[in-house]
Symmetry: C2
Subunit: 345 residues, 2 copies
């Protein structure tokens, strides 16, 4: 059980993981007072904080995704929290909101687009889901699969990072759509989860040797949709087996986020042209006008028991760095979160 914090513990960036993996000493815990809102601002008590592989890039210079953090800045990250004080008429104390809150117990925000703030209205499932299946993670699965992957019943859908936040949703949604689903993960335990709990037709353990041979065995009709969260060698082996008119959803490159960060060469990119295929990346925030469409569809599937989700929640803000490193070590099972303060529901 977590107490309501009386001060504001924050994680500051202490060092950059240049040409190496992230480590706990890259962060420094700092105690600050609980902030007061200025005109137009509101203060949020963070309940759940979300971890994502992209955070390594936030820590580096010039990643091209967001402004780089300075040493000593509060680490950037999204969370779900409750408004406690407000000088903004659109956000009242008690409101549950989702948005950029940083690695801290109390966050200040205003209504500007930078904070990507939106109110969480549904109470049918826990509010932590706004950081996962009913948040950007789930919506990424939904729009990446439907808008780019365009799966047709009977097609073969291959998903890498299949036990992760996005991947665990992709497999289930593709299954609901009537596809054959094959998931790739990094342990025997995760592969069992894919088949036993997430409805995948087959699983590939990429630590079990020849990935290409495993793809041949599980995708005998080739790959129609490849939802790739990994990049690197797994992307390359998948590209080698795509069918004509295949769609590759270039969702993530966790394999690029570890090690020295230099790009891994891909041998089979030429198949995209040769086979009239498509490979596309996307920014989930570009779908902002359509998020309600995804949410309502997915709440319905959760109610019907057709879409399950798994959260991997560590307790206490002290564990934020540990939680992030778990992602790079493939230790998380489902969406990696940290509970930062009490959940009132």
């Amino acid at each position: 059980m977590i107490d309501t914090p009386k001060t504001n513990l924050q994680w500051l960036l202490a060092d950059r993981p240049i040409d190496r993996a992230v480590r706990e000493s890259d962060f420094k815990l700092h105690e600050a007072p609980i902030p007061e809102p200025k005109e137009g601002e509101f203060v949020i008590r963070v309940i759940y904080s979300s971890l994502a592989p992209v955070m390594r890039f936030y820590m580096l210079d010039g990643a091209g995704i967001e402004e780089p953090l300075e040493i000593g800045d509060v680490m950037r990250g999204r969370g779900v929290g409750q408004v406690v004080t407000s000088k903004n008429p659109d956000y009242m104390p008690g409101d549950i909101v989702h948005g950029k809150m940083g690695w801290q117990q109390y966050a200040v925000a205003d209504g500007s687009p930078y904070y990507l703030m939106y109110k969480v209205s549904q109470r049918e499932v826990p509010v932590s889901t706004a950081l996962g299946v009913l948040g950007m993670t789930g919506f990424t699965a939904y729009f990446g699969l439907f808008d780019i992957g365009k799966p047709v019943a009977g097609e073969t859908v291959l998903v890498s990072g299949a036990a992760g936040g996005v991947g665990s949703n992709v497999g289930q949604i593709a299954k609901i759509r009537g596809c054959k689903t094959i998931g790739i993960a990094g342990s025997k335990e995760k592969c069992e989860l894919l088949v036993d709990s997430l409805g995948y037709d087959a699983a590939i353990n990429y630590r079990d040797g020849d990935i290409g041979a495993q793809m041949d065995a599980t995708c005998p009709d080739g790959i129609d949709v490849f939802f790739d969260n990994v990049g690197g060698e797994i992307l390359d082996e998948g590209l080698a087996r795509i069918n004509k008119y295949a769609r590759i959803v270039a969702c993530g490159q966790i394999s690029q986020y570890i090690g020295d960060g230099s790009p891994r060469p891909i041998k089979n990119a030429y198949k995209i042209g040769r086979l009239n295929a498509l490979m596309q990346g996307f920014l989930i925030y570009d779908y902002a006008p359509r998020l309600a469409e995804a949410e309502s569809g997915m709440v319905q599937w959760i109610r019907e028991g057709r879409l399950t989700y798994q959260e991997d929640i560590l307790d206490g803000i002290e564990r934020m760095p540990e939680a992030l490193i778990r992602l790079y070590d493939s230790k998380n099972k489902g969406k990696q979160l940290v509970q930062v303060s009490p959940d009132p529901f």
Copy 2:
């Protein structure tokens, strides 16, 4: 001046260019009688025969594009010709048609989709254009650029193989659309052609050393649309410089068609996902229902003098192998054709 042939000279496949470049001894000239049509068939006197880089794959097994040819088969290829005898009510003697005719002086066809036969109706420009700017080559430029590249006025459009059949059209059409156009070619002479005759804003000679540095110099605002006919290193250097939401038209990989044919690794494919970009291949025959749209638009631009085209026509069926090898040696200037029999217009 070419005489009307009295027999049917044909080029047969004599050897496969496995792990090597195409050479003249891969083909054997054969003299056959002029064919007679069976019920439903018609016989065409081939006027112009078209050469394309993909032909090396026709000569190999299992290229995955069309059925492989057997040794001794007439080489596959498209042409423009005139119907001379017919037992098919849809094709009358005198009709000018475009379609699969093979490397020969007289071809037999029927109305089936295999032959991709369509009548050439326009006489505003020479009928040879049905193999180039007003044929699949030009239509490939048109649909690849507009449907996948989606260029917006003011954007930077980079074209590789820019002096070739497709590329020379792409640059001009992108310019008509108000884009900044940069072309890549393999000689000083071709680069001058790009800027002086094809309206490119700048040209890159890939034999002049550092391709990336030349791209930096000519595309200071990055690349929004990359129409790639080449693949390999040039694709990789272009990917390294794409902007957010860039579109890469994966039209050809001539760099893969030479040498041993093994795929060249691409380091920057990860940028597609990272920058929410799109890379797509396409099959021009999928646009069959919309070809008239492209033809009417392009005839209009030709009439207005805004779209010029260049043909590189060798005389005599004897020169077919030489004409094909010219493509791989980057010697052609514009669409490579061979005139096989007299042009009545």
